[in-house]
Homo-oligomer: 191 residues x 2
DNA sequence: CGCCGTGGTGGACACTGTCTACCCAGACCC
DNA sequence: GGGTCTGGGTAGACAGTGTCCACCACGGCG
């Protein structure tokens, strides 16, 4: 393994990313991560003074991955804004559904040190791009408010879909109709 | 106290409701609830075999309260659907903001026994009413999908607003513009 | 009187996060 | 080279958690 040669700090985060994908957020025990990294339970403390900081480092990987997929999905940025927004929404929901554990961790603010750790640095730029696209798609409206409402809509769909409430309530078996409905609603249907 | 005369079961739920309102969801320790109810830490087990079931009973109080406020807000049901929906949205968000701890508990599915405990019995009827109102407000669309998207939007706003993300992202200091934007989006603006 | 079941006690157990005393290899300096 | 110092990891303690279980007090009944 190449990763085993690198520092323990990275290895702990690697283990955490793997563990959260495999068994969910509640499996991210400090001691379990240390165990799987092959060190004693006190070792992580040297790099992460508290459990929250380790979890935050793991979550940041998730934000980075999501941001990467988002930039990949919007291509060179020349597509019509409505298409880029649809791609963004799809990416967001697919991430939430596909990486359920990581997504849960990323938005479990009681598990994260939301303060100085730069989660904001990763998610705010994403929102800024959202505002910019919304502004081009709906020049009439307050882009920040519409973008905020749209983001909240995506987040809500992701969350409620994640634990099956929307399937149960609407009888749907895929989130695509909901996504389309939300996009149509906030951006105007059609073009 | 009148409640101290009733059974322990009710008293535990009372204490839990009080505690979650006062100190948030992470304070709902089984042992702490027992302590504040004046019984030993093993006592709750007679009525709630597991911690999750006690938390679920507490959360059900929240769902009941929310449902009560919702029916109160829609009045006799003769107002135009758009107004009733606006009232519902306001009630939902005010509940989420005003009873932050309870709201968090209600949607922390890892803390709840989402199965056979009838949370669905309290929240599904609410969704049914939502579908009915949306169907009258937008006869053209698939009411269940639109209602699902709208619910997700409310939920998302509540969640993101709850931990300050939307204030930070949009610069708003009240959720009313976001709510209006969401309602306009899903129901069509104007009437 | 004796029995028994309902409802609560309190002590284990395994596990958690945090804190702290220790320790050991390697660098560095005189 | 010998001594010292330090970064990085060990391991044991501590308080707190949820769960399980052995016990028991007490009221109603035969």
């Amino acid at each position: 393994m190449d990763a085993s040669e690198s520092g323990l700090r990275e290895r702990l985060v690697d283990v955490g990313v793997d563990l959260v994908a495999r068994e969910g957020a509640q499996a991210l025990t400090l001691r379990e991560i240390a165990r799987r990294a092959g060190v004693s339970h006190g070792a992580p403390r040297r790099y992460f003074p508290t459990h929250l900081e380790l979890l935050s480092a793991i979550a940041r990987r998730g934000f980075a991955e999501l941001a990467a997929r988002a930039t990949a999905a919007t291509g060179d940025g020349t597509a019509p804004p409505r298409e880029q927004l649809a791609a963004l929404g799809r990416v967001y929901l697919e991430f939430a559904v596909g990486s359920r554990g990581m997504y849960e961790l990323m938005f479990r603010h009681d598990l994260l040190e939301s303060g100085h750790l730069g989660l904001r640095d990763t998610s705010l730029p994403l929102f800024v791009r959202l505002v910019e696209l919304v502004g081009r798609a709906r020049p009439d409206a307050d882009a920040r408010v519409v973008a905020g409402a749209l983001w909240a809509n995506l987040h809500g769909i992701a969350q409620l879909w994640g634990w099956g409430s929307l399937q149960l309530a609407t009888g749907a078996d895929h989130f695509a109709p909901l996504l389309r409905s939300a996009l149509d609603a906030h951006l105007g249907d059609g073009a």
